[in-house]
Symmetry: C2
Subunit: 334 residues, 2 copies
């Protein structure tokens, strides 16, 4: 069903139908009513594809994330989507599961859909895609990764600072044997996080032992990474997790191994997802303002009239340590 069907039935031209549907020009009240009536009767829904093709616009934004299952990304998505809806934008979401291949195909889908702005909140990357982004004439927001360009706005978290805060805190509590649980260390941003840990630890070289391990993102991955440490014989008194989602699994494995948290082992997460308060014990973590990231991304893509048209091309976040109950003094001995 299309405009013509409605027009015929309402005994007007398609132009008029279009006008009443879009309020794009004055229409006599009686005809407007007639058209509206037919629209309702026919349950007519305008073809949005055709509309944006003809109009040349699209009010559609794209959002690509690495893992929707991880509440971190979900929270960013929700803030972004909420802003978008308030301004009558529609958002297309894509999930990559940390796969560069899927990142590329998602981006291509978005471009094919002619989104008017694209937020890429991922950890993986593809060099050629990056180059394409920079050459594109489309506002883009990049998180964690990416080249600079006039159409590209960046959101960065000073991840290292957060890690350092966690490590220093643990060290001050007497911990001298620490482990790092990460995932996808093949991906640059995630590798950097591991390096942040390693670098920070080197400051204590000689007095502190440390080692990293990696597994899938998620509780299962965290659990299996923790099991790896336990099996390997390296028994840390503190475990630093790359994110809260994995920390959930670390806590479980510890519990099942008969180790108490924080008496025997301290654990820290990263992100401060809401779940981190609902596990037991409540998780010590590093806060990253996910909603703010979502809002900022939206702002960068859709510069509001009131606000200054994005002065800076970059938004930096300083993470804060949130001390709860999974951390405590190092045990006397092991």
């Amino acid at each position: 069903m299309n405009l013509e069907d409605v027009a015929r039935r309402a005994r007007v031209s398609i132009s008029t139908v279009s006008r009443v549907l879009n309020n794009t020009a004055p229409v006599k009240n009686s005809t407007r009513a007639r058209v509206l009536k037919v629209v309702k009767e026919l349950r007519y829904h305008p073809n949005l594809q055709a509309r944006s093709l003809a109009g040349g616009k699209s009010r559609t934004l794209g959002l690509i994330v690495s893992n929707l299952e991880n509440p971190f990304f979900l929270d960013v998505f929700r803030a972004f989507e909420s802003d978008a809806h308030h301004q009558e934008y529609e958002v297309l979401v894509a999930n990559t599961d940390y796969s560069p291949r899927r990142l590329v195909s998602s981006a291509q889908l978005m471009m094919g859909r002619r989104v008017v702005g694209l937020a890429v909140i991922v950890s993986e990357m593809d060099p050629s895609l990056m180059k394409e982004f920079a050459e594109l004439n489309l506002p883009i927001v990049l998180y964690d990764v990416g080249v600079p360009a006039k159409n590209i706005y960046k959101i960065r978290v000073n991840y290292e600072k957060g890690i350092r805060k966690a490590v220093e805190y643990l060290h001050s509590m007497g911990h001298r044997r620490m482990a790092f649980v990460g995932h996808h260390t093949g991906l640059a941003p995630l590798l950097d996080r591991k390096k942040s840990f390693l670098n920070t630890m080197k400051q204590y070289s000689g007095q502190v032992e440390f080692t990293p391990a990696a597994d899938r993102d998620g509780p299962e991955g965290g659990q299996s990474a923790m099991r790896h440490f336990l099996d390997s014989g390296f028994k840390p008194t503190a475990v630093i997790c790359v994110n809260d989602f994995m920390a959930l699994g670390v806590l479980k494995e510890l519990r099942e191994s008969g180790l108490r948290v924080p008496e025997d082992v301290s654990v820290t997460g990263y992100d401060n997802i809401r779940l981190s308060e609902f596990v037991h014990p409540p998780l010590t973590t590093v806060n990253i303002p996910r909603a703010e990231i979502g809002h900022t991304a939206f702002q960068a893509l859709v510069p509001s009239v009131e606000e200054h048209p994005s002065e800076g091309r970059e938004f930096r976040i300083n993470p804060e340590l949130v001390i709860r109950e999974t951390t405590g003094p190092a045990p006397r001995s092991r």
Copy 2:
């Protein structure tokens, strides 16, 4: 940039470009190569809106859920999306936050996008929308709600049976004071769940006290509902939650009130989300096969060639009790 730009540069007609892009007719190898080269150089991405407009098709499916934050829906989504991608379908997701208004607008968006199939996995409903669904000429999958019609496939969970299993189990463990934690009891399917609880309890009338409470979906809602019980003076020995997500909050509130689980209070969830194994103690719950729901929904919308074209118009799920560690014998006294 469009087909014409590519065509001009490759010195062929747009028809030819279209042909190589879609493999829709034989093209001389040399010209094909030339076209492909230009496509790459120009970083050309076909306009998908135009494509589906011209083609009349769309390979896009719609999925509407009530609350993506609740892992139940996320799991359904992931299974659905995974199947879709394997068959080169794209999926549009919408989240309603249990709002019938948002359900209607999401559905309208999907219809405007001309999806070729729509899965509606929600608890809220709108009568007029339902009627429209039934009149539509579009395959639709409904979960938990809905009218019958030839284009409508239904997925139903025998929710009551699950509740009954939980209640009977708890009763057999000596529990005589039980509470039910739900959310959005204004919505029919959710109200039904509460009623299931109430009805089941009536069988034990005289010997068992019981009461329901409701709050938002999610851990915070669960916590606040549990606090309500505690404050009200009705101190249940067992708490049955409408879903695992809320149970997370119930566990927390109990812990913070100094009540032990399951020694002082038993708790059951519903859904068997993966997180239910990662909380402490691991949650006793009722399993609902979320992935199966996602797969079934996809199958119903996109009948595969091999399978029989969906014989039944309905798929029923029998939930199973999964006993873990949040349930135990009722305490001697309180």
